[in-house]
């Protein structure tokens, strides 16, 4: 870190962004933004998808995609970046300011050994002129990001795991000892336990180097847990800025409060998540009003008459809510109510009369050169009628395969599946009548809302087909029946004529749920049904799941990697690790007091609960 000496030590903040406005041709993506980063400070820019947070990061680094332009001023340590020529800017990028991207696999050059990525950054330095000096330095740099295995430097990116790639990328980004690191969702593409490691690493490196860090994220918990100040970005405008701890304790903007409340807490199961209705608008559609007005319970005419400016409340807090002083009492009350909500008590389960019973299930796939790949090894589980069961595990744990076996999309290699007493392990070997009965008992909700509906069919067609498939066509799929299905998932009858392309992710997932409900199933297998949705929409859909469970006495098998989601929706969970169930029990107990080391790691990997009790 000797190189840092001589540059630092100046007065004023390290990075100053003034009036940065990004637009796509004539269409604005963000309104003018102001961001300040002090030396050695960690800030977070928090926002849902479409808020413009990633483009803001790219605008600061001067790497906007073609066609997107930015106006305003970005000053790094007194140097006006936006007025520099590309060749000058290149000297600053990497050496004074670096960037870490979301996808670790595409960030590294697939044809370069991982050590060469770091080597390349060191080449310009006179002290690393010799190959051996560089090799030593690469080793040292990899050790800094926690890679002690010297062999890693010689491996290609595809031979490394996602977490390893991200570490290598971080080492490469830090190779020229930048004063500012911009990390754009650095952990989102990784598994939960790896996420926690990368964040811990990022935090350690930031502290050790006394480097400034801008963390771009959609994850509030993450932002609050490692950042000193938080910028809340929504539809291209800054809605709230302030001290992380203070914002978390007492949010001043209804949107921040909504985000805090709609994030499922891990420590308690709340009776009902507070959801923000609707979805994020485009910046261009809310130019002359508060961007959040359409989704805000406190919106008045005054909110729609102009864009409310970000105003200072005290030295460190800013909010863009013009009615803040009038509504703060109500906001605080809501926050307190959520904190004091009584946790729900799970029912104590018996095992006789299970709706779904799986015994000794094994699924092996044929891999490369005929090598068997064991996805599930000897899994047994049961689900009672009306019970909501969680299946938790990381990618590769076999949880999706298990779900697909249950609904007959995969045929297990060995073991029994009984659905409603009918042996349903091999759908092809079943009698037709049995198959129809099982199909009507168990249905599946898929993860990706964008391909779960046939793009060429209208919503009405999709639901009509499902209705026709269900009853053995006892009654035709009338418009009324389609409308009543839509009503069950909280959509109006007018949606029947819409096509999937015109629906948002949350709306599509609702239609997919309606389609599954058409056959009046007793159990839904939900494979990560909310993981692709925005936080505020995720809460709406989770509430819908809960509401449907009560109304239709549905059982759920909730497949997810997200312990907070599982906490909110299930009574009992199974923890799946490398194809085996390593722990099971009531949700409260497993999360509150995990026994298996893997479960402990999983629980420990959550940054922290969103609901922090006031001191």
């Amino acid at each position: 870190m000797n190189a840092v000496v001589g540059r630092a030590g100046q007065e004023g903040p390290l990075l100053k962004v003034e009036g940065l406005a990004i637009s796509d041709g004539a269409v604005p993506i963000t309104t003018p933004l102001n961001i300040v980063v002090e030396r050695g400070e960690t800030i977070a820019i928090v926002g849902e998808s479409g808020s413009g947070k990633s483009l803001t990061a790219r605008a600061i680094a001067g790497i906007l995609p073609p066609g997107i332009n930015a106006t305003g001023a970005v000053t790094l340590d007194g140097v006006p970046l936006m007025r520099l020529a590309e060749s000058e800017l290149r000297k600053i990028r990497g050496s004074r300011m670096s960037m870490l991207m979301q996808d670790p696999f595409t960030m590294l050059n697939p044809l370069m050994r991982s050590g060469d990525h770091i080597d390349e950054m060191l080449r310009d330095r006179p002290e690393f002129a010799s190959r051996f000096a560089r090799a030593d330095e690469v080793k040292r740099r990899l050790a800094e990001v926690g890679i002690v295995d010297e062999d890693v430097a010689r491996r290609m990116p595809f031979q490394l795991s996602g977490g390893m790639c991200q570490r290598v990328a971080l080492a490469a980004a830090l190779a020229r000892d930048p004063e500012l690191l911009i990390a754009d969702e650095p952990s989102t593409a990784l598994d939960v336990t790896t996420q926690a490691e990368i964040i811990k690493l990022l935090r350690r490196v930031q502290r050790e180097r006394h480097m400034s860090l801008i963390l771009i994220t959609h994850n509030l918990r993450l932002a609050f847990s490692i950042c000193q100040r938080v910028y809340v970005l929504y539809a291209g405008s800054m809605l709230e800025v302030g001290d992380a701890a203070a914002v978390e304790r007492q949010p001043f903007h209804p949107y921040t409060l909504g985000l805090l409340l709609s994030e499922p807490p891990v420590d308690i199961r709340v009776p009902r998540l507070v959801a923000i209705r609707g979805s994020v608008p485009r910046a261009a559609d809310v130019l002359d009003s508060c961007g959040f007005a359409d989704r805000c319970d406190w919106a008045k005419q005054i909110c729609r008459t102009g864009k409310p400016p970000l105003t200072a409340l005290d030295a460190s807090r800013f909010t863009a809510c013009i009615r803040q002083d009038e509504i703060q009492g109500e906001l605080d009350a809501l926050r307190t109510a959520a904190l004091s909500a009584a946790p729900m008590t799970p029912r104590r389960g018996e095992t006789a009369g299970a709706l779904v019973r799986v015994h000794g299930l094994v699924k092996t796939f044929v891999g490369e050169r005929g090598r068997p790949i064991c996805a599930i090894k000897d899994v047994s589980l049961h689900i009672m009628p009306g019970e909501s069961v969680g299946l938790v595990g990381e990618s590769g744990s076999g949880k999706t395969t298990l779900g697909r076996c249950l609904v007959g999309l995969e045929t297990p290699t060995a073991g029994d599946i009984h659905v409603n007493g009918i042996a349903a392990a091999d759908f092809d070997a079943m009698a037709k009548a049995d198959r129809v009965r099982v199909r009507r008992t168990i249905q599946m909700i898929f993860q990706d809302p964008f391909s779960t509906l046939n793009p060429r069919h209208s919503v009405g067609q999709a639901l009509g087909e499902a209705l026709g498939a269900s009853a053995g066509a006892t009654s035709p799929a009338t418009a009324e029946r389609i409308a009543s299905l839509l009503a069950k998932v909280g959509l109006s009858a007018a949606y029947a004529t819409r096509r999937p392309a015109s629906l948002s992710g949350g709306e599509r997932q609702r239609v997919a749920i309606a389609r599954a409900l058409a056959v009046k199933p007793a159990i839904l297998v939900c494979d990560e049904p909310v993981s692709a949705l925005d936080l505020s929409v995720q809460a709406q859909v989770l509430n819908l799941f809960r509401h449907l469970q009560v109304e239709h006495e549905l059982s759920y098998l909730f497949i997810t990697h997200d312990l907070a989601v599982v906490r909110q929706i299930t009574e009992r969970i199974y923890v799946l690790y490398l194809g085996e169930i390593v722990e099971e029990g009531p949700t409260e107990r497993v999360i509150g007091n995990p026994q298996h080391p893997y479960t402990r790691r999983l629980v420990a990997s959550i940054p922290r609960s969103a609901i922090q009790r006031a001191p």
Partner: protein
């Protein structure tokens, strides 16, 4: 961007802008199609009337494109020849893709033994050189134009099956297919109601490209004297018949040649554009 941008993607559908080249190509194809339908009614002269005393003459005010060796009006023959130029390729493209769609859907969706069988057949067909097989079969079996068309249908089916199959394989793992399967919807319905509409744009684009290939192939066969019967006005046949009068009336050769090129290139351009615009 980070998480998939929900609710903001595809909200605005771009208005359909057709490039000028495609418009011209479409205009040319429309012109050829009109000639094919109306034929002798818009031809200035009979395409069959021989004036042996006149013989081949260069373009004049009476015969705009001149006459051929038998004194027949070249322009009328070219207009009339649009019929065989269009009908054969249309039959080849439509026929080949009708069969290929069926085979491709079944092969891609069912997989397993059926898939292997169909794909091995496709591999075998790929090993055959199209023009050579056509020449041999038409030469040995005879039967002229329609035999040639039939042979091309069979030969074109193989690559088309592969195209359809790969499109099906792309749709197959998508959740909407899984959802239909868990609802217990029949295979036929999944194939024709769910998958087919989603791969239709790709099929359409390749049908158009097939047409262009068939046109060139059939013209080639006609030039070799296979296919169309002597005397019938046909662009490929005219190239063969009029090659001896290249210097007395070059138009008699250049006009049908130009028409083959223009039609094939136009169709190719339209097919490429359709593919870029809808199938990607």
């Amino acid at each position: 961007m980070s998480v998939p941008a929900i609710g903001e993607t595809r909200r605005t559908r771009q208005p359909l802008r057709v490039p000028i080249v495609i418009l011209i190509a479409a205009l040319i194809i429309t012109g050829v199609a009109i000639c094919a339908v109306l034929g002798e009614r818009i031809a200035p002269d009979s395409p069959f009337l021989q004036r042996l005393a006149v013989g081949d003459t260069p373009p004049s005010s009476v015969h705009i494109a001149g006459t051929d060796l038998f004194g027949r009006d070249v322009l009328s023959r070219v207009i009339y020849g649009a019929r065989t130029a269009l009908v054969g390729p249309v039959v080849v493209a439509a026929g080949a893709f009708a069969i290929a769609t069926l085979l491709g859907l079944v092969s891609g969706y069912l997989g397993g033994l059926v898939d292997s069988a169909i794909m091995r057949w496709v591999d075998f067909m790929f090993a055959l050189p199209v023009p050579l097989v056509a020449i041999v079969v038409v030469g040995v079996v005879g039967g002229g134009y329609w035999t040639a068309v039939l042979v091309l249908v069979v030969l074109f089916t193989a690559p088309d099956t592969r195209i359809v199959r790969s499109a099906v394989l792309e749709q197959r793992p998508l959740p909407y297919i899984d959802a239909a399967r868990t609802l217990g919807i029949s295979k036929t319905r999944i194939l024709f109601v769910h998958i087919l509409p989603n791969i239709a744009p790709i099929i359409l684009a390749y049908v158009v490209l097939d047409f262009a290939f068939a046109l060139v192939n059939l013209a080639g066969l006609s030039f070799l004297g296979l296919g169309i019967e002597p005397g019938t006005p046909d662009w490929g046949r005219m190239l063969f018949e009029n090659r001896n009068i290249l210097f007395s009336n070059p138009v008699a050769l250049l006009l049908p040649a130009g028409m083959i090129i223009l039609t094939a290139v136009s169709m190719n351009l339209i097919g490429d554009w359709l593919f870029e615009r809808f199938a990607k």
